[in-house]
Amino acid sequence: MTGDVLSTPNMAVSIGGGIVLKNPVMTASGTFGYGEEFSSHIDLSRLGGIVVKGLSLRPRAGNRPPRIMETSAGMLNAIGLENVGVEAFIAEKMKFLRTLGTAIVANIFGDTPKEYGSVAERLNDVEGVTALEVNISCPNVKTGGVDLGADPVMAGKVTRIVRKATDLPIIVKLTPNVTDIGVVARSVEEAGADALSLINTLKGMSVDIESRRPHLGNITGGLSGPAVKPVALRMVWEAVRAVSIPVIGIGGIMNHEDALEFLITGASAVQVGTANFINPAATIDIIEGMERWLENRGIADVNQIVGTLDLS
């Protein structure tokens, strides 16, 4: 067995705020439910972390259907942050999640900056919550959400409010629907974020030419999947250069090659989202693929490839 131990690369990564993940592969919020839904498909304890569906102070019903539409190499969604609410999450979902031995990240959002603070405060002492991911970037809700995240001042303000409300590490999830991601990233860093995650979905639209109606009940939606990966990678690159806190890469990651591109570009970890819909075992395939890739190249530690983009 000694030989195996020596040849298996170290996969553990730090993502700020003292959080160490057992490997760099997390699930993206809104694509993995509250974890339990995937328990018959994969061993959840093998994940680097689970980011749960976004939580608000009160339950939300979500947008009127249709809520999704397939696109070329991707999909549009306008779910509208349907969720059970923070109280039901604590009472019903955490019991299972805290047994898994993997990082549990509670994604939170509010209709107002104050509400972000209330949700953060409520989760502060909940056993088993590793960190908060603050969603200031959902394109599908009318209040809060994307407008907060597109304004560097508001993004900083929300981050400060959450910072005051909790001792937990804070990851702030950024929207790509901005002109300069660096400005927002720096504002959030200065306000006390421990890490950034990006990108959330790109705002998009699709039309039925026969009925001449939008395909989505919400008219616009968020684009995800392989179609957005080049944009995500570019924005991660820009964010990494703008801040000194860790950046978690998200956007169209379907396999370990995609994940490695983000790590090389400078992401300390990645989140896998839409791929979970296509293949419920996508995260495990990516972890195993990454391990094999490192092994085959004799790389002993995944951290050795983080931020190694060669621009010479």
């Binding site: 694509t31 839904e37 018959s40 019903a61 999704i68 070329s72 349907e82 296509i278 419920p280």
Partner: protein, 276 residues
């Protein structure tokens, strides 16, 4: 059976056209694949493609097993990019399947009469229901009446199976090319005096127009009806929340259920009437 289904690679055994733009895909699966209940569905991906990007949901038409394998049959209509690709599958090709998924039809239980109301390929889960009912205790004595509708005679599908399984089979076509000239719900409505609650139950699957018309009838008559709904899906296991269907609620705030996980079979009484 695993709650969230299981992922398996299936091998295509046949993919025959049974009517214009209508086919039956026969897939061989390992014996570990769970027993699907009538009304349950599978998510199918025809190989490792990115276009179409998402897997597609299909109701189980028939499923049986011998010692070494499970044989799954899907009745489908070729309507878009996904099903066009599916129609090109040949014997020996592989497909990725996730299933069986969702909540199916309740078994007949104490019912004396089952009424099946089908529109187009909506016949698929109802054939599965009738077949399973005939194999189980009380279902053998069940009187099954099927009403099947289609636009025109050439695209009436599943009739051969229903003929063998049902006591009465009635057909409606929009153009009158076979059977009753009109809608399948109108054909059923004319026979209403034969079906009284609580001994008679209705099982239905078809386009929205059919479902809406049927709702009016069963609500007026107090007949218990279960309906299988269709909606665009991404995951099939209840996490993407994309396949929401509005249900009746007490407050002004709309309430939604997931077609993939809470359905696809619902009690007709819970579904909100959406007149968009």
């Amino acid at each position: 059976m695993k709650e969230g289904g299981q992922i398996e690679m299936g091998i295509v055994r046949s993919n025959d056209e049974v009517a214009p733009d209508h086919r039956i895909l026969a897939i061989e699966l390992p014996p570990s694949f769970g027993d699907g209940q009538p009304g349950q569905f599978v998510m199918l991906r025809p190989g490792e493609c990115r276009d179409p990007f998402l897997p597609r949901p299909f109701s189980i038409y028939t499923m049986d097993r011998d010692g070494e394998s499970v044989h799954l049959y899907l009745l489908y209509r070729v309507v878009g990019k996904g099903t066009v690709l599916m129609a090109s599958l040949r014997r020996g090709d592989t497909v990725m399947l996730l299933g069986p998924l969702g909540r199916g039809f309740d078994p007949p239980g104490e019912a004396e009469k089952a009424v099946l109301v089908a529109g187009g390929v909506g016949v698929a889960p109802l054939v599965c229901y009738a077949e399973r009912a005939r194999k189980t205790g009380s279902g053998r004595a069940l009187e099954i009446t099927a009403y099947v509708g289609a636009r025109t005679e050439g695209i009436l599908v599943g009739l051969d199976r229903l003929e063998a399984l049902c006591d009465v089979l009635k057909v409606a076509t929009d153009d009158g090319s076979r059977g009753y000239n009109g809608t399948v719900t109108e054909l059923f409505r004319r026979d209403l005096d034969k079906f009284r609650p609580p001994g008679s139950v209705v099982k239905a699957c078809g386009p929205k127009g059919m479902t809406d018309a049927l709702r009016d009838i069963v609500e007026r008559e107090g007949l218990y009806c279960q309906v299988s709904l269709e909606e665009r899906m991404a995951c099939g296991i209840g996490v993407c929340l994309g396949c929401a269907v509005r249900v009746k609620g007490d407050d002004a705030e709309p309430a939604y259920l997931r077609v993939c996980k809470d359905g696809p079979v619902f009690d007709m009484g819970v579904i909100y009437r959406d007149d968009r």
